[in-house]
Structure formats: structure tokens, C-alpha cells
């Protein structure tokens, strides 16, 4: 269009900037999650994730070491280092104080005067001098604020995978997803071939029915199918959820594959038939290999859908914690028991979305093609 009307630099700038803003707006929530998943839980609580590359200021309290009291000329003195005492991470003291009511009133290097003529000096590197004219009976408290360097680590991931059973949920999700993705493809491919290339009475009616079934809310199937599963002895089990996902995925699978197969060149199929190929041979040797892009599109759809599903898993899998998939684990367990532990939540969420994101970015081409073929035009 530009080449016809001549470019308008101002408009191009506006376009560029608005798209940049939109992309940032779209990415910010996810980036926040990703950054938070690597941060130390104490740092998450005191500084926002967008400030995470900068040192975090936190308040601490330590007790001065009573064993180190020295008596010089009637003045009792304790010298030490606040970082050495408590095993606190070494940082830079940005403020300190000797009173609970005023924990950060003095600058490093200043002498703070406390009650009963006691004094306290803390230097930026943590060295302190505490003096008192009277004998020191209890270890005095030193309050200070320290700027800690940013703390990024895999600790949240380690914890969620080892002690919170997220690894188990990951395996469960994988176990649900793979058969539930592969099995419908084959069933649908045969049906799609019949609907695309075989002549029989009632064909149009069947296609119409499948288009109709595309939008049937699967909420309808939950109660009757669970009852049926219980009756025939499948109950709430992996077999049950594989069958359920297969059933729910079929309309889209058949619809996508039929739309694609119908577009294959008629000549190839007819000349194969003239040469004596049976329908079974035409299907397996010609149509199936040529339909690979459509098969891939559907496989990605079904994979994303089963991986991300919460509803079907809640209903068709047993509700004990050993068979929780990741979505159920997050929604029913972590959000409750770990509600305030943002680092853990973020790590859990990222583990559950990592695989779909990889699939998405590597196979985006097929996904887009499938979307375009799958929407009723």
C-alpha cells in the first residue's frame, strides 16, 4: 500500500510505536512471572520484579556478641561485624540504629547515641562498635538496613520439583497428553477420508452433524459420561480420560482433516484408483502422507488443549493427589496452600507452561495453518 500512496513517515512512526507498546503490554505479565520464578522469596516480598536487577534493601536485626566485651578505662566496648555474627549475606549497610523504634535512623559511620549514654557506630562494611558506661548484661540489638545484591537462583524450581510433587504432576500431565493426542488422529483421519473422497448416501448430513458437534459444550458430557464410565468399570482413571479426550477432540480433527483432504488434487487419487489401488491403499499410501501438515496442525491443537485442560482432568481423573495433573495441582493445591509464596507459584506455573511454549514457538507455522483451516469460513 505504501508504494501506491507514498510513505507517510509520521504514520509509520505511530504504527511502530503503537505496536511496540502493544507487544510490551502483552509480554509484561509473562515476563513478570518468569523473573519472579528465579528470585529469592524474601526479595520478592520487598522489591518489585521490575526492580530485581538492582540491589534489594532489607531490614535486619542482630544481637551484638556479648562474649566480645572489653573493658577499657571503665567503658564497656563490643566490637564486631554484623555480617559475621549472624551468617547474614554480606552486603552494604545503608542505615542502622540501636532502637527498635528507630531501626534505620543513622547513616553508616555516624555515631548513634542510645539510652543511658550508650553509643553505636556501624560502618558500611558491617563493622560495629558498641559502647556503654555501665556493664552490659544482655546482648544489645543492632538494627540495620542492608542492600543485598540481586539473588537469582533455581531454588524455587528445585523446591517445587523435589518437595512439592510437581514432578509427579508433570509426569501425569504427560501421561494424559500423549495417548490423548495420538489416538484421535488415526480415527479421525479414516473418517475424514471417507467424508472427503468416498461417495455414499448421507455424507452431507454427517458433515453437517460434525460441524454442529464442534460447538457442543463439553460440560454436557461430564455427568453422563462419568456415570457411564463408572457403570462399565472404567471409573475415574487414565483410560477414562484418554477416551474422553479422544471423543471431545474428534469433531475438530475430522473437520480439519476433511477440509484439507478435500483440497488434495483429484487427479492423483483417481489415477491411483484407475491403476487398481483400493481405498485402503489410496488412503495409507497417498492421502495420509500428503495430509501431513493438517495432521500436524491437529496434533498441536490437541496437544495444547489436553496439556492445558483443567475441566476434563478434574472430572475424569481420580481426585487423589497422586493423579493430579499440573493444572489441577496448581488450581486446587498450590493456590491454596502456597497462596502467598509467589516464587514457588511462579516456578510451578512456568514448569506447566514451558512445554506448550516450546511446542508453540517451534511449530507455530502448523498451528496458524490449522487455525485458518479450522474456523468455519
Amino acid at each position: 500500500m505504501e508504494n501506491i500512496a507514498g510513505t507517510r513517515p509520521a504514520l509509520a512512526w505511530v504504527t511502530n510505536i503503537s505496536v511496540v507498546l502493544l507487544v510490551i503490554l502483552w509480554l509484561v505479565p509473562t515476563v513478570g512471572l518468569l523473573v519472579s520464578s528465579f528470585r529469592d522469596r524474601d526479595q520478592i516480598a520487598v522489591s518489585a520484579w521490575w526492580k530485581s536487577p538492582f540491589p534489594v534493601e532489607q531490614n535486619f536485626a542482630v544481637k551484638a556478641n556479648l562474649d566480645a566485651v572489653e573493658n577499657s578505662d571503665g567503658l564497656f566496648v563490643i566490637e564486631g561485624n554484623i555480617f559475621a555474627d549472624e551468617g547474614n549475606e554480606a552486603g552494604e549497610v545503608t542505615a542502622f540504629g540501636g532502637k527498635r523504634t528507630d531501626p534505620t535512623g543513622a547513616q553508616p559511620g555516624e555515631t548513634a547515641t542510645l539510652a543511658r549514654d550508650r553509643t553505636l557506630v556501624v560502618r558500611a562494611n558491617g563493622d560495629y562498635v558498641y559502647t556503654s558506661p555501665a556493664e552490659i548484661k544482655r546482648p544489645p540489638s543492632i538494627y540495620f538496613a542492608s542492600a543485598l545484591p540481586p539473588d537469582f537462583s533455581l531454588d524455587n524450581y528445585r523446591q517445587i520439583l523435589t518437595s512439592d510433587n510437581m514432578d509427579r504432576a508433570f509426569i501425569n500431565t504427560l501421561t494424559v497428553t500423549i495417548p490423548a493426542t495420538i489416538i484421535p488422529i488415526l480415527i479421525a483421519a479414516f473418517a475424514a477420508y471417507a467424508l472427503a473422497w468416498m461417495e455414499f448416501p448421507g455424507r452431507w448430513l454427517l458433515i453437517a452433524v460434525i460441524v454442529g458437534l464442534l460447538v457442543v459444550p463439553l460440560q454436557l458430557a461430564l455427568v453422563p459420561m462419568l456415570q457411564l464410565h463408572n457403570k462399565v468399570g472404567i471409573g475415574q482413571s487414565y483410560l477414562g480420560i484418554w477416551l474422553a479426550h479422544t471423543g471431545f477432540g474428534l469433531p475438530l480433527a475430522i473437520y480439519l482433516l476433511r477440509n484439507y483432504m478435500v483440497g488434495l488434487p483429484r487427479d492423483i487419487i483417481e489415477s491411483a484408483k484407475v491403476d487398481g489401488a483400493t481405498d485402503f491403499q489410496v488412503f495409507t499410501k497417498i492421502v495420509l502422507p500428503l495430509s501431513f501438515p493438517a495432521l500436524a496442525s491437529f496434533a498441536i491443537f490437541q496437544f495444547l488443549w489436553t496439556w492445558n485442560d483443567l475441566l476434563v482432568a478434574k472430572v475424569f481423573l481420580p481426585s487423589n493427589s497422586e493423579s493430579w495433573v499440573m493444572t489441577v495441582k496448581i488450581a486446587d493445591d498450590l493456590l491454596g496452600s502456597r497462596g502467598g509464596d509467589w516464587g514457588i507459584l511462579a516456578a510451578a506455573a512456568f514448569i506447566s507452561i514451558a512445554v506448550p511454549l516450546i511446542v508453540f514457538f517451534t511449530m507455530q507455522r502448523y498451528l496458524v495453518r490449522g487455525l485458518l483451516a479450522g474456523s468455519v469460513k
Binding site: L206, A208, V215, V216, N308, L311, L345, P356, S375, K377
Partner: protein, 325 residues
């Protein structure tokens, strides 16, 4: 047996079973039932050709009937029974439900979702499609905006919990409020408006879908129509709203209805964000309150959803038939 092994065996049995079924049933049809014997060779081949489509279709039709057609009837029938499923109570579940204020709230909320989410996602999708089509780095921008499509509704909810968190150290919204000196609030607890904060999540996810389809439609517009408009002196806004949008109206409707259907099915977001508290229930999440507790009530809600979807279903079928003829 570990579920993983069970899974592998199921894949092998399932795939092997399917291939075996199709191969053997075709073999039996050709060699045993209607063998092309000398004499009635032609007749038998024709008969076999009449049966074969149904061999190809049988597994799919069986699964579809069982998992999608039967439940429509089965759910309706179940919704006419009481909690235990033994006593037939007619439409009592429906009358109880309609007089339940929680249902009315859920229904009203769902109505707002249906109004706002498809409109928001379609509008933003169209905007992004139009803007990115003119950029060199448009494909990268598209792929990033499309990305939330891959994220589960639960994952997306968690992501947005961070944004909405009621402490300025975690939630961006409250950090902004803090910056201008306002006190932090929990946006998910503001009556009425909290629904819109939940809708934002689904719009965030679905904009990519709308964008991909509308972008393809925009590219399909004949260049001449746009050229003619520009030569006639139309400005970019006129070109977009008067030339391009009318030509892709069909696709816009498709995107709109697809997202509308989705809105009537998604219970995950409400479930993970508020659990339906603070008057944020929508029909699918309202239904889950009764799942496992009162199947009669649950199926009644499901059937109401089905009735709402019905017009779209009819419209889809008519479109598909028009396209095939």
C-alpha cells in the same frame, strides 16, 4: 503398573488396534463377505464399495455418538431427576435454579462476558493485524502477541494474579497506584468491576487467535479495491473502515462467534482467580459448584449452556452447507 507404562501400552494398543481394525475389516469385506468371484464380480465390488465408507467411519461415529451426541440426551434426562438420580422431578431443577440469585448473577455475568470478551479480542486482534501487516518486524510482534494461546487458562490466571496482587511490591496495578500515592486495593474484590478484570485475562489470550485469522483475511483483500480508494483520495482510516473491514466482515463474524462459544465453556479463569467469590461466577464455574454434589443441578446448568450455544450451532451448520454447495 505405572500410569506411564499404561500410557505407552495404550498408545500401542490404540494405534495398533486402529490400524488392525481398518486393515482387517477391509480385508474381510473384500475377501470373505463380498469376494469378487467370477460371475458376480462387478456386483460384489459395488456392494463392497457401498459398505466401505461405513467401515472407515465406524470408530469415529461410535466415539462421537457416545461422547457428544448421547450426553446431550443423557444430560437433559439426568437434569429432570433429583440429586440421587432416582426420582423424576420434572423441571424442578430448572425452576429452583432460575430462582437462585447465585444463578442469576452467574447468568448476568456470563452475559457481560459474552458481550465484552469477543468484542475486545476481535477489536484488538483486528487492530494488531492491521498495524503489524505494515511492519518489517510484524511477524515477530504477531508471534509474541499470539503466544498466550499456548498458555493454559490456569497458567494465565496465575500470571495475572501477579499483575493484580494487592501489594505494590508484587502487583503492577497497585505499584502504579502506590506511585501516584493511592492506597493498594484488591481489584478482584471490587463488586461488578472485578468481572472485567477477569475478562481481561481471556481477551489477553484470545487476541492472538483473532489476529491470526483476521490478518490472513486482510491479506486476502484484492489489492485493486484498496488502490482505487487511495487514488480517490481516501485517508488511511477511511481505507480501513470503509474498504477493508466490510470485505472481511464474514471472517469477523466467524472470529466473534468462535470466541463467544469459548466464553461459554471456560470455567478455569474464574475458578483459579476468585473461585466464584465476590459475585464473579459465570455459568461454567457455577456448574462446577454442583458437580459431584448434585448432578441434577449440574446437568441443568450444562443444558442451559447448550441452549445458549444452539443458535450459533445452527448458524455454523448453515454456513458450512452454503460453503459446500
Amino acid at each position: 503398573m505405572s500410569p506411564m507404562m499404561q500410557g505407552i501400552i495404550t498408545v500401542v494398543v490404540g494405534v495398533g488396534g486402529c490400524v488392525g481394525y481398518f486393515f482387517l475389516s477391509n480385508l474381510i469385506l473384500d475377501k470373505i463377505i463380498f469376494p469378487p468371484k467370477p460371475g458376480d464380480k462387478g456386483r460384489n465390488i459395488n456392494r463392497a464399495e457401498m459398505v466401505r465408507p461405513w467401515l472407515f467411519l465406524f470408530p469415529a461415529l461410535f466415539a462421537l455418538t457416545l461422547y457428544l451426541v448421547y450426553p446431550v440426551v443423557g444430560s437433559f434426562w439426568r437434569s429432570l431427576h433429583d440429586r440421587s438420580g432416582d426420582a423424576f422431578i420434572g423441571f424442578d431443577n430448572y425452576t429452583t435454579m432460575f430462582s437462585d440469585t447465585a444463578f442469576q448473577t452467574a447468568f448476568f455475568n456470563n452475559f457481560m462476558w459474552v458481550l465484552v470478551v469477543p468484542a475486545g479480542a476481535t477489536f484488538l486482534g483486528l487492530l494488531v493485524a492491521q498495524l503489524t501487516d505494515q511492519l518489517k518486524w510484524g511477524n515477530i510482534a504477531k508471534s509474541l502477541i499470539f503466544m498466550p494461546m499456548a498458555i493454559s487458562f490456569v497458567g494465565a490466571s496465575l500470571i495475572w494474579r501477579f499483575v493484580y496482587a494487592n501489594t505494590p511490591e508484587i502487583g503492577i496495578i497497585n505499584a502504579l497506584r502506590d506511585y501516584v500515592g493511592l492506597l493498594p486495593i484488591d481489584v478482584l474484590q471490587i463488586p461488578f468491576w472485578n468481572n472485567f478484570f477477569l475478562m481481561v485475562i481471556l481477551i489477553w489470550i484470545q487476541t492472538g487467535f483473532a489476529m491470526v485469522i483476521l490478518s490472513a483475511a486482510l491479506r486476502g483483500i484484492p489489492e485493486e479495491t484498496v488502490e482505487a480508494a487511495i487514488i480517490d483520495g481516501a485517508n488511511p482510516f477511511q481505507v480501513f473502515f470503509k474498504i477493508k473491514v466490510p470485505q472481511i466482515m464474514g471472517t469477523i463474524v466467524v472470529v466473534w462467534t468462535t470466541i463467544t462459544i469459548l466464553v461459554l465453556k471456560v470455567f478455569d479463569i474464574v475458578y483459579a482467580m476468585t473461585g466464584g467469590n465476590f459475585e464473579t461466577d459465570i455459568l461454567p464455574s457455577y456448574m462446577m459448584n454442583f458437580m459431584f454434589r448434585d448432578d441434577g443441578r449440574a446437568t441443568a446448568v450444562a443444558f442451559v449452556i447448550m441452549i445458549i450455544v444452539l443458535p450459533v450451532m445452527v448458524w455454523n451448520i448453515r454456513q458450512a452447507r452454503k460453503e459446500m454447495q
